[in-house]
Amino acid sequence: MVNVLEIIGIDSYIYLSVILFCIGVFGILYRRNAIIMFMCIEIMLNSANMLLVAFSTYHQDASGQVFVFFTMAVAAAEVAVGLAILVAIFRNIGSIDIDNLKNLKG
């Protein structure tokens, strides 16, 4: 079996996931559309997942990959709940712009 890390080095994976993570963070900070913010969160989660898989291969240890499955499952659940909340919000105020969600202020 060919080790993928011999073709593309581990550092490339790290750079990619850092770039993805930063895209996610800046997306969260700059965009106001709740669905796009959700997508940014998913990007961050997946960047972390990729790093986990990469290191799992690097250490020849499957537990990292198992952990990724759990992350995916949790992310799926989170998306289901989050989207449901967004639908409910949209029905109430007719918008999913987070600048309009100020009812919770103290």
Binding site: V25, I28, D99, L104, K105
Partner: protein, 628 residues
């Protein structure tokens, strides 16, 4: 078997109390019967345990469980039935049964009939705990419990505010004494690492050192203050006359026969400690003699029939304390028992009179009751003769022994006590003449209402009168059953150094009888020959007025203690509380201002939250991985 005896003894009155408390409305008049039966069962069990201890000669000791367990300090939830506690049990439950029976008739028609019996049973329960506990902490449970029941029963007719005040007064006065009791207990616990009577006794038997002796004095003094509170001695006696606000059976049971003798029980129980502290014993003797005389002088001029009896009780308790002070414990116990008989009889008799008079307690409005209430009259007469010290009634023997001891120990105190005895004879016969002799001085309406009380009330009177007559037999001079009986309890007992009945003793006896006759004669000449009726309140003058107002002791206490405490309270409320509340409110205001500022950060702008969140994470990462 032993455990069963203890549990029966304790739980039956407690169950009676709970049953009448919770199901009183449904039970109606049956609650009185249940309560009476509960106490009667306790009495039967007491008799059984009496014979068991008599036949085996060893006390019944039961430790139910280990109550407080520290490293080298253990207090067990234990009970001790020895000669002393059984003696107390017998007369507490015996007289208790009679008074319960009496109350079934006396309290009939009262709206809180069942509650009354619930309290009475609870009192019996706590009294049993008090006398049977095997250590001082168990005694303290009972000590506080009987105080509570006393409070509840004095204020039983709580719709009258002055009765409530009397109840509060009794409770607070007792609290002062209880503090003394607790301090004494703490000192003993500190000295002996235990509160068990037997262990303390053994420890003291092995000898003491100088330091322990010094502390023991303070312990016994503090315990005596406790006893003075509960048993109404100077300076804590003023609650007892006011306690007459309670129903008359309560006065008879709690404030004459049983609870007020708890102080004497405690000192007798710890006689081996008190024996080691002669200077405290001297204080006890002096306080007792002064109380006896002081209360007797007040009793001379009171017009309320129950007030006379109350001051008489204080005076008699004073005599008992004097005996305790002289180390004559068994004589004090003897007087406790005879006093319980005749004073309970007197109180119940006065209750019978009040019952017939429709609630009137002023002797100036009585008179001539002999014709209407023959049973009450005869029993009252016998009890009066007994308390005056006429042989061969019970009171003669016990009082005479006290006086005899006093004569040997201290002539001045003997003289004071002898004067008090003469006064006792005078005011008791004054009471008898004013209520039962001459013409009736009340209204026509009251006269038509006069009647002998029902048999539930007269039977206890008759039994108690018989006991007042023959009660002296338990400790006849020269051949005392009681002294032998109490020998295991009292270390320095009279049986080991008996009095020889010499000429001086017989002269003393004759003197005592003569004194009683003088008192009776004075009362006879004043109230029968001259037919004097005590003047109405506004015509009282001179020293008579000082006596009638009880030496203004209540007023002095009011001025010296109550008023300053109120003033202090007002001062604290007006000034100190102001400062404290400013500090507390100030702290609140600071928090309030800060939170108002902090609230602004929570402005609902999710973008800002997210920015703060990311910034925070970055800062943490920087701090954890780069800055360090």
């Amino acid at each position: 078997m032993d455990t069963n005896i203890i549990l029966l003894l304790l739980l039956i009155p407690l169950l009676g109390s709970l049953a009448t408390l919770f199901f009183g409305k449904k039970l109606g008049n049956a609650s009185g019967v249940i309560a009476t039966l509960a106490v009667f069962i306790s009495f039967v069990v007491s008799v059984i345990s009496f014979f068991q201890v008599q036949s085996t000669g060893t006390p019944i000791q039961v430790d139910l469980f280990n109550w407080i367990a520290l490293e080298n300090f253990n207090i067990s939830f234990g009970f001790l039935l020895d000669q002393l506690s059984i003696l107390w049990l017998l007369f507490v439950t015996g007289i208790g049964t009679l008074i319960h029976l009496y109350s079934t008739s006396y309290m009939k028609g009262d709206e809180n009939y069942a509650k009354f019996f619930s309290y009475l049973n609870l009192f019996i329960f706590f009294m049993i705990v008090l006398v049977t506990g095997s250590n001082l902490l168990m005694m303290f449970i009972g000590w506080e419990g009987v105080g509570l029941c006393s409070y509840l029963l004095i204020g039983f007719w709580h719709k009258n505010q002055s009765y409530n005040d009397a109840a509060k007064k009794a409770f607070i006065m007792n609290r002062i004494g209880d503090l003394g009791f607790l301090i004494g207990v703490f000192i003993l616990a500190f000295l002996f690492q235990t509160l068990d009577y037997m262990t303390i006794k053994e420890a003291l038997m092995q000898g003491t050192n100088h330091q322990i002796n010094m502390w023991l004095g303070w312990a016994t003094l503090a315990l005596f203050i406790g006893a003075a509170g509960k048993s109404a001695q100077i300076p804590l006696y003023t609650w007892l006359p006011d306690a007459m606000a309670g129903p008359t059976p309560v006065s008879a049971l709690i404030h004459a026969a049983t609870m007020v003798t708890a102080g004497i029980f405690m000192i007798t129980r710890l006689n081996f400690v008190f024996d080691l502290t002669p200077w405290v014993q001297d204080i006890i003797a002096v306080v007792g003699a002064l109380t006896a005389l002081f209360a007797a002088t007040i009793g001379l001029v009171q017009n309320d029939i129950k007030k006379v009896l109350a001051y008489s009780t204080v005076s008699q308790l004073g005599l008992m304390f004097m005996a305790l002070g002289f180390g004559a414990y068994e004589i004090a116990v003897f007087h406790v028992i005879t006093h319980a008989f005749f004073k309970a009889c007197l109180f119940l008799g006065s209750g019978s009179i009040i019952h017939a008079m429709g609630g009137e307690q002023d002797m100036r409005k009585m008179g001539g009751l002999r014709k209407f209430m023959s049973v009450t009259y005869i029993t009252f007469l016998l009890a009066t003769l007994a308390i005056s010290g006429i042989p061969p009634l019970a009171g003669f023997f016990s009082k005479d022994e006290i006086l005899m001891v006093a004569f040997h120990e201290n002539k001045i105190l003997w003289f004071l006590a002898a004067i008090a005895s003469v006064m006792t004879a005078f005011y008791m016969f004054r009471l008898l003449y004013l209520t039962f002799f001459k013409d009736f001085r009340g209204t026509q309406e009251q006269k038509n209402h006069l009647h002998e009380s029902p048999s539930a009330m007269t039977i206890p009177l008759i039994v108690l009168a018989i006991l007042s007559v023959i009660g002296g037999a338990i400790s006849l001079p020269g051949a005392s059953w009681l002294n032998n009986y109490l020998q295991p309890i009292i270390v320095n007992n009279a049986a080991s150094n008996p009095h020889i009945l010499g000429t001086s003793e017989y002269i003393l006896m004759a003197l005592a009888i003569l004194g009683a006759l003088i008192g009776i004669g004075l009362a006879y000449s004043k109230y029968i020959k001259k037919n004097t009726v005590p003047p109405i309140d506004s015509e009282i003058s001179g020293f008579h007025k000082v006596l009638y107002n009880k030496y203004y002791v209540d007023e002095i206490y009011m001025k010296l203690i109550v008023k300053p405490i109120y003033a202090l309270g007002t001062f604290f409320r007006d000034y100190v509380e102001l400062v404290l509340s400013e500090i507390v409110f100030g702290l609140g205001k600071i928090a309030d201002t800060l939170s108002l500022q902090g609230k602004k950060a929570q402005n609902g702008n999710i973008g800002l939250y997210l920015f703060a969140f990311v910034f925070g994470i970055c800062f943490l990462l920087y701090y954890l991985f780069i800055a360090r």
